[in-house]
């Protein structure tokens, strides 16, 4: 199982803060994104082209190529706007 978290505009759009997902053969964050996109609707919109989505693995910035393993926390969010 991996823990998935969503923040800010993305969380609002998807109407979910976090969820658990079976690893089920997924090797990278790109695989996770593909799974989420396949849900269609707002998921397709959120992760489809044109929308910049940043990602973190175990609370550190990551990229689509980052490898995921059991017990990992993967987070998706829009570009940051603090400061």
């Amino acid at each position: 199982m991996i823990q998935i978290r969503f923040f800010a505009r993305l969380r609002e759009m998807l109407e979910v803060e976090s969820e658990q997902m079976e690893l089920a053969g997924m090797a990278t964050i790109a695989d996770v994104v593909e799974q989420l996109q396949q849900r269609g609707g707002v998921w397709q919109q959120a992760f489809g082209g044109g929308n910049t989505v940043m990602m973190a693995l175990n609370q550190e910035m990551a990229s689509a190529e980052s490898a995921v393993a059991d017990g990992d926390e993967v987070a998706f969010f829009p570009p940051v706007t603090g400061g």
Partner: protein, 151 residues
């Protein structure tokens, strides 16, 4: 002496700067940046703002940025305080204060830290105007500011 805090309570930037300044008699200069809430964005009046963050990752990201600044320059202390939650115009959002024996290092490190914070620390602003609330878009100029420090 480094101090990094993320908090929903308001803070007084002057108190923070004094704490840093008084830490050591070898400090020759302190450079600080205060980011505060402004009442407009793209010509619209903004009444209030709420900052969301990613607890756990935020602290790690800020610590990594401060570590990087300490590795690049000879510093005698860094204080970073960032607010989350709801705030009003003129409220301080962030303070970055850097102490060093000489001003050059402090100026550079302070600018480096705020530039990196703007693109790497997981905070998101949501503004309230008379028309309702909206998430603030990231600015391309922030990416350019961060890119200057690479290479």
């Amino acid at each position: 002496m480094n101090e990094i805090r993320v908090q929903s309570e308001p803070f007084d930037p002057n108190v923070e700067v004094d704490l840093l300044r008084n830490h050591s008699p070898s400090i020759g200069g302190v450079v600080s940046f205060i980011g505060q809430m402004r009442d407009f964005n793209d010509d619209d009046m903004v009444l209030a703002m709420t900052l969301e963050h990613y607890p756990g990752m935020t602290e790690k990201a800020l610590a990594a940025i401060v570590d990087e600044a300490n590795a690049r320059w000879e510093l005698m202390g860094v204080r970073v305080v960032h607010r989350v939650g709801r705030m009003l115009p003129k409220d301080p959002i962030v303070l970055v204060a850097v102490a060093s024996s000489h001003r050059g290092e402090a100026f550079q490190a302070c600018e480096f830290i705020i530039d990196y914070l703007k693109t790497r620390a997981p905070f998101w602003k949501r503004e309230e105007s008379v028309e309702g609330a909206r998430w603030v878009d990231a600015r391309e100029s922030d990416d350019h500011a961060e890119a200057r420090w690479k290479g």
